[in-house]
Symmetry: C2
Subunit: 361 residues, 2 copies
């Protein structure tokens, strides 16, 4: 593990995105989303994925100069076609539209098709916060999750993020995969050679398993809850909801047709829509009650939960967003830790595109 | 267990609601929501709860002639004050407003305060379906759920329901508590003298437990997922989201201040808002893409999931709403089964209000 300054990594990503043809504006936007993930401690969605995006571009599956456009709209809704652009760029552009609509009629809701992986959902959900709006972001993803009672992989980890402003407290920012765990947690166990708790994965036959290799071996992640007895059917409902809002509303691919993020797997030859789909929303707080009043009650909500009595052995009750904010504080000072294979992949990119790779912090 | 005709039970509820002063329209609406729960197999939210509503009315905590009114609005949003009315009436009235707004600007979102228990969330979410709209309904509830790492009861079972229309397939209707299980499942285990799987409840000290008596003994239900290792913090995020949308947006009570449903427990003497809160929404499908196109893709989505390969021992993969629809078919023919204590409570009401109690089917 070596540490790098987050600014230096962000500038490196900007350089690379520009090299594949992105405008400066788009390159900065995309790099900003990755950088936000690295700062917030969501390592699986930060600069570690940069090479993945580039490989998709090399296969003509990402368009670095997309014509992102509204194909249909009403005063509170729109469908955006991302023109195969980076989800890192398409999603914030779509959120801009949602925010504008919320300014006009109270809320704005945008379904997006023909996009690609959009990075961390929380980044997009947080965009409306500074305007005293609530933000919502969801996306579908490559299918590695089996619905309850099935052994087929039909859903992605399909995350949901909700960001809600407060007055003196930091905002409430929930951002979670609708599976028991995201794939990254399994990779950590693999590296440590440890087994997973039951409820995370099943074998390709659908049997309970504790092996972190299971997904790599054709098995699947389980929806949040795990098996039926532990409420896994509710996680399946959540993942399905995200899939339908992101893709059936927008005209993107859904279920097993969602194109894979990795460039070595080909998308379905018979797609049911275009690219992957997202769904974002913005709600003006003062479309419901005066913003100050709302935010003061959010402060009280947050303090009530933060001050709740803990069970023995736990230091405190967390508010959604706390762990990421703590990481951000630490990493702004100490830098972003990168694993050797990630550093190697970035050095490869540096060489290929003749861009300088930053020195360690 | 004895069986009663669902129509007869519904008429009985109408009579009782009229006796406490509800208008015919409100009585029919409220009885319809209870009846829908009984038909769909959600026994805990059907006529079994009738006496609970009446007891709250007797304690002046339910107003049978509410002046339900919009206190604030924008083209796509409203806040509704339920004037302490039955949630069974207030929520459908609020959904009407959401639907009207969706007609005008694509979507409508209504936060409701000063209400009471609204019955099954799915009923309300399904109201927009016939207009080719997606429906959404959530509500907060009396606190019996501890956030992750805490032993305090700060959240209710806070359900979410999402209803999405299809073309030839029945609609997708997800309706679930944001806990591993709803309280009713524990009551069933208590009656059978069986233990619960880990992940459902914890003791009042916050220790894992398998006792279905735990909540009655001061313990708490766990958020969907169960403990931290199984994603319980995501269930906590979901429950919190529902609480904030239902109550902080509307000006209702949130967290530990949500008034109890049972009449023998008093509401907090220092409320932070009025009554309990709900949040409902309606989205016109054709605010995104032509309704027919959307619904045909929903058919394909549904068939893809229904036809997925099952794990050994399971007959089929379910679409959210399937089990309730099957129950509805059966119960329309065979009648609604009621347990002896429920029948007794209804006979008490019959006597008290001099209304005839229906004969067995």
């Amino acid at each position: 593990m070596e540490y790098f300054s987050s600014d230096a990594l962000c500038n490196f990503s900007i350089d690379i995105f520009k090299k594949i043809g992105c405008s400066t504006e788009h390159a900065e936007l995309a790099a900003g989303v990755l950088s936000s993930a690295d700062l917030r401690g969501v390592d699986s969605h930060g600069i570690a994925r940069l090479i993945g995006y580039i490989r998709l571009w090399e296969k003509d599956r990402i368009n670095s100069q997309p014509n992102i456009r509204i194909t249909h709209q009403t005063p509170s809704t729109a469908v955006v076609d991302g023109d195969q652009g980076l989800g890192l760029v398409v999603a914030p552009e779509a959120m801009k539209i949602a925010i504008e609509k919320a300014m006009n009629v109270g809320t704005g809701w945008v379904a997006i098709r023909n996009s690609n992986h959009f990075g961390i959902a929380g980044y997009h959900a947080m965009l409306p916060l500074e305007k005293d709006m609530i933000g919502l972001a969801m996306t579908n993803a490559s299918p590695i999750v089996a619905p309850t009672f099935s052994k087929d992989r039909l859903l992605g980890t399909n995350p949901i993020a909700v960001a809600i402003p407060a007055e003196n407290e930091p905002p409430f920012v929930a951002d979670f995969a609708t599976t028991t765990v995201a794939n990254g947690k399994l990779e950590i166990l693999q590296r440590k050679n440890e087994s997973a708790p039951y409820g995370w994965v099943q074998t390709k036959e659908g049997s309970p398993s504790q092996s972190p290799q299971e997904v790599a071996n054709g098995g699947s992640l389980l929806p949040l809850g795990g098996d039926r007895d532990h409420g896994g059917h509710k996680g399946y409902c959540l993942g399905a909801w995200v899939d339908i809002f992101s893709a059936v509303l927008s005209g993107a691919n859904y279920g097993p047709w969602v194109p894979p993020f990795v460039a070595f797997l080909e998308p379905s030859p018979n797609p049911v829509g275009r690219g992957i789909g997202h769904f974002v929303g913005a709600m003006r707080v003062d479309a419901f009650r005066p913003a100050k009043e709302f935010k003061q009650h959010m402060d009280q909500w947050i303090r009530t939960f933060r001050d709740a009595e803990t069970v023995a052995g736990q230091q405190k009750v967390l508010i959604p967003g706390d762990p990421e904010r703590e990481q951000e504080q630490i990493r702004k000072e100490e830098g972003v830790p990168l694993l050797p294979p990630v550093i190697e992949s970035l050095q490869q990119l540096a060489e290929k595109f003749r861009v300088e790779f930053p020195a360690k912090a």
